[in-house]
Symmetry: C2
Subunit: 435 residues, 2 copies
C-alpha cells in the first residue's frame, strides 16, 4: 500500500449501508476516498432471510462494490482486512500493508451474539453473511429431505420442527417465511410426509415480539404469525442448544425440551472484534454490546477525525442509543460525508440527528407491520409499503427488477425458485455422480 | 425404502436433461416413477459459464426438482445416491436402502476428465456443477482483486493472465465471457491496474475450435474471439498445469510456459463412476469415455428394461456416436418415456433416432455461431437465436424472466451483477469483521 496521500484522505472501513452511503456522498468531490472491505460486494442484509428460505438468490441482494463505486474516479476499493490502528500517526494497519488517513470512517457492522455460549453457533447459525444464509438454506431444505426419507414418525417430527430464536425483525421475518415455505410452497412436494405438519416455534426471552415497536404492533405481529401457524413463545429463554434439541426456560421457570433438527438464530448482535481493537488503540470504552460511543459529530472522544457509523456505533439521542438498523447507518453515512465536506470548506456541520422514518417487519405474503411514527399500519397496506421501500433501497437497478420479478413470481406461484441445497464447499472431483 | 411396487415401476437416476424430460413425459400416466438425484435441483448446465463469470446467479439456472415434478402425483423424488445394481432382481442399491424397478433409466451424466492427470483438477477447475461454477467465479474475481493489489508489474501480469483449456463450446463460451468481463465490465473498476491489459489464452489440442461444427464456423468462431482480444492457440496441447503456470506443447513440439494465476478447464468429459459400476453389474463394456453402449431402443445388451440416456450413453447413429449435448439427452428422455408407455399398451416403439436441430455456441454480446444444418449463421442473428433457444429451454417460468432481465441488463449496462466472491465454505463465526 502506498503511503502518499492527497489531502484530505478519507479511509472508510466496511461497505455496508454506513460505509457505502458515505462513499457515494463523497463521490467525485475533492477528497481521496479508499473503501476497505473483506468482501467485494455490498450486501442488503435486511433481505438475507429471503435467501435463507429460498425466495431470493445471493446475487439478487448483493452489488459488487467496484461496480457501484467504479464511476467515481476519486474512490478506490480495497479488498483487505484491518488488523490494527495507530491513531497518533493516523495510520490504519491492513493485512497487506498500511494506509494513512485524514478522516477514518469505521462502519464494520456487527456479528451475532450467543450470550456467552459461542458453542451454540455451530448448532444454530445466525444470519449476517451470504454464507450464513446459504448455510441456513442448506439446513432448512436438508431437514425436509430427511423428513421425507425418515423411517419413524417421531424422527419425522424432529426433522420437521424448526426453532427460531429471537423475536426481533430477523426472527419474526424468518418465522413468517418458514410458515409460507412449509404450509404453502412445499405443500405438494413430498410423498412420505405432510409438510403442513411442520412445527415452527419462535422463541423470545422478552415479554413481546418486536420490542422497539408499539405494544399493539407487537400484538398484531404475534396474531399474524399465529394465524400463519407459527407457535410464538414469549417470556421464554433458551437455556441450551444441543444437537437435535433446544431446552427452554419457561415463564414459570420450568424447563421444556423441544426435539428439533434445525435451530435458527435471530437473537443478539455485538460489535465486531475490530471495535475492541479500536477501543484499545484509542482508549475509549465500548458499551455492553461492544459498540463504540460517539459524540454528536459521530467522532470518538479525543479523535474528531475518527467517526463510527451504523451498528458499530453507540450514539445517544434523547437519552437512548439508536437501534442497529439500516436507516441509522445510511443517515450517519451521509452525515459523515457532509461533515467532511463542510470542514474542507472551513465550516462546521451541525451535530447528527436521526430522523426515524418508521420501523417495518414483514410477516410474509400480504402481511407486515409498519410503525411509521405518525401512523401504524398492518396487513396488506403495510406489506405493500414494505415491498416498495425495500426495493427502492436496493443498490443497483437490475437487483431491483430481479427482486421484483422473483417476488411477483413467489407471490403468484408461491414457488420459491432459489431453494437449492448447495454444498458447503468445493472439493475437486466432487459430484461425480448425481444418482 | 419400501420394496412394494405398483406396476410398472420406473426408476430414473439423475435429474438432468435426460432424466427430467423422461420424468415429465411420464407425469400423470399409469406408471409409478421414482426420480433419484444427489441434488435437489435440475441444473441448466449450458449456462454454467455465465455463473462462473458473474453474469447469472446459480438460482437463475437451477430449478428445484420437487417444484418441477410436484404436480405429478405418480412421481416421487428421492435425494439419494446409487451405490450398486442387482440387475437379476431388478434392484437398485441406494445409500439409504434399495428400490425395485420394472424399468431403470440411467441418466447420471458425465464429469470432466484430466486425461490421466487428476492432480490438475485442484489447479484447473472444470465446469459441471454449481460448486464448480462458484469456484471458478471465486478464482476469476480474486485474481483481479490480487492484480489490483499487486506490487510488481510481473506479478500483475501473471495474476491477470487466464488460460482456458479446451476449444469446445464450454471453452469458447468461457473465453468470450472472460473477454467481455475484462475488456468491458471491469474497465473502470480498478485504480492500480488496467483490466484491458488482461491476457486470455484459449488452448485447443485439435486443429480447430468447435470440432463438431463446419470448418468455416470454426474459422468464424476463431476470428470473433480474436477480435474480442482472446489469444487462440490451436494444435497446442497442455503438457502440464502447475501452481501459477501452464506448460504447453506447441505445434512444432517445442514447449512454452505461460505464467497464469488462473487456469479454467473446459476440456474432456467421461462417464461417471456409476457407469463403471453398471458395466460391472451388467457385463457390458464401456467405451473409451466410460460411456455405456446402448441399442436402438436405448437399452443395455441383454437388459431391455435398463435404458441409458444422454451423456452417459454411447448411442451410434449413422456409424457415429452422438455428442454429449443437452438436445440428445432431452430427445432420448422423451423417447424412453414413449417406449415405456408403448410397451405398457403391448406395442413396440420404433428405434430411437436423433434429430439434430443444430449446434450453437455464444461468443458473447452480439456474437454467436449457429450451425442449423440447413443454414449456418453467425454474429447478431446467431446470438439472438441462441438467446431465444436458451431461454425457451430453461426449466421454470420465473427462471426465464430472471435470465431475460439479467441478460438485458448485462447487455445494456455491461455490468455483471452476480460477480460476488463467496467463501468456499461456512464456518461458524466467520466474517466477524468486513474491514
Amino acid at each position: 500500500m502506498s503511503k502518499e496521500k492527497t489531502s484530505p484522505a478519507v479511509v472508510i472501513v466496511g461497505g455496508g449501508f454506513g460505509g457505502l452511503y458515505a462513499a457515494k456522498a463523497l463521490g467525485n468531490r475533492g477528497v481521496a476516498v479508499t473503501l476497505i472491505d473483506r468482501r467485494n460486494f455490498h450486501l442488503f442484509q435486511p433481505l438475507l432471510y429471503q435467501v435463507a428460505t429460498g425466495g431470493l438468490s445471493p446475487g439478487d441482494i448483493a452489488s459488487p462494490l467496484r461496480g457501484v463505486l467504479g464511476r467515481y474516479r476519486n474512490i478506490r476499493v480495497l479488498q483487505d482486512e484491518v488488523t490494527g490502528l495507530d491513531p497518533e500517526n493516523r495510520n490504519v494497519l491492513l493485512e497487506s500493508g498500511e494506509i494513512v488517513y485524514d478522516y477514518l470512517l469505521l462502519a464494520a457492522g456487527t456479528r451475532h451474539h450467543y450470550f456467552g455460549n459461542d458453542q451454540w453457533e455451530k448448532l444454530a447459525p445466525g444470519l449476517k453473511t451470504v454464507e450464513d444464509a446459504l448455510e441456513m438454506r442448506r439446513r432448512i431444505f436438508n431437514a425436509f429431505e430427511k423428513a421425507e426419507a425418515a423411517a419413524t414418525g417421531e424422527e419425522q417430527k424432529r426433522l420437521s420442527t424448526f426453532v427460531i430464536v429471537g423475536g426481533g425483525p430477523t426472527g419474526v421475518e424468518l418465522a413468517g417465511a418458514m410458515a409460507e415455505l412449509a404450509y404453502g410452497t412445499l405443500r405438494r412436494d413430498f410423498r412420505n410426509f405432510d409438510p403442513t405438519q411442520t412445527r415452527i416455534v419462535l422463541v423470545e426471552a422478552g415479554p413481546r415480539l418486536l420490542p422497539p415497536y408499539a405494544e399493539k404492533d407487537s400484538q398484531k405481529a404475534r396474531l399474524t404469525l399465529e394465524k400463519k401457524g407459527v407457535e410464538v413463545r414469549t417470556a421464554t429463554a433458551v437455556k441450551e442448544v444441543r444437537e437435535g434439541a433446544v431446552i427452554l426456560t419457561l415463564p414459570d421457570k420450568n424447563e421444556e425440551t423441544i426435539a428439533a433438527e434445525t435451530v435458527l438464530w435471530g437473537a443478539g448482535v455485538v460489535g465486531t472484534p475490530l471495535a475492541t481493537t479500536i477501543a484499545g488503540a484509542t482508549g475509549v470504552e465500548t458499551d455492553r454490546q461492544h459498540r463504540l460511543p460517539v459524540g454528536g459529530d459521530l467522532s470518538l472522544a479525543n479523535f474528531p477525525e475518527i467517526m463510527v457509523l451504523g451498528d458499530m456505533a453507540h450514539f445517544e439521542q434523547d437519552g437512548q442509543a439508536l437501534p442497529g438498523v439500516a436507516q441509522v447507518a445510511m443517515q450517519q453515512g451521509r452525515y459523515a460525508a457532509r461533515r467532511i465536506l463542510a470542514e474542507t470548506r472551513g465550516e462546521t456541520a451541525k451535530p447528527f440527528r436521526y430522523k426515524n422514518k418508521g420501523n417495518m417487519a414483514v410477516i410474509g405474503r400480504n402481511a407486515a407491520i409498519a410503525d411509521l411514527g405518525f401512523a401504524s399500519l398492518s396487513g396488506l397496506p403495510a406489506w405493500l409499503i414494505w415491498v416498495f421501500v425495500h426495493i427502492a433501497y436496493l443498490i443497483g437497478y437490475d437487483n431491483r427488477i430481479l427482486v421484483l420479478v422473483q417476488w411477483a413470481s413467489n407471490y403468484f406461484t408461491r414457488k420459491r425458485g432459489a431453494r437449492l441445497i448447495t454444498l458447503p464447499g468445493w472439493s475437486p472431483g466432487e459430484e461425480k455422480s448425481p444418482g
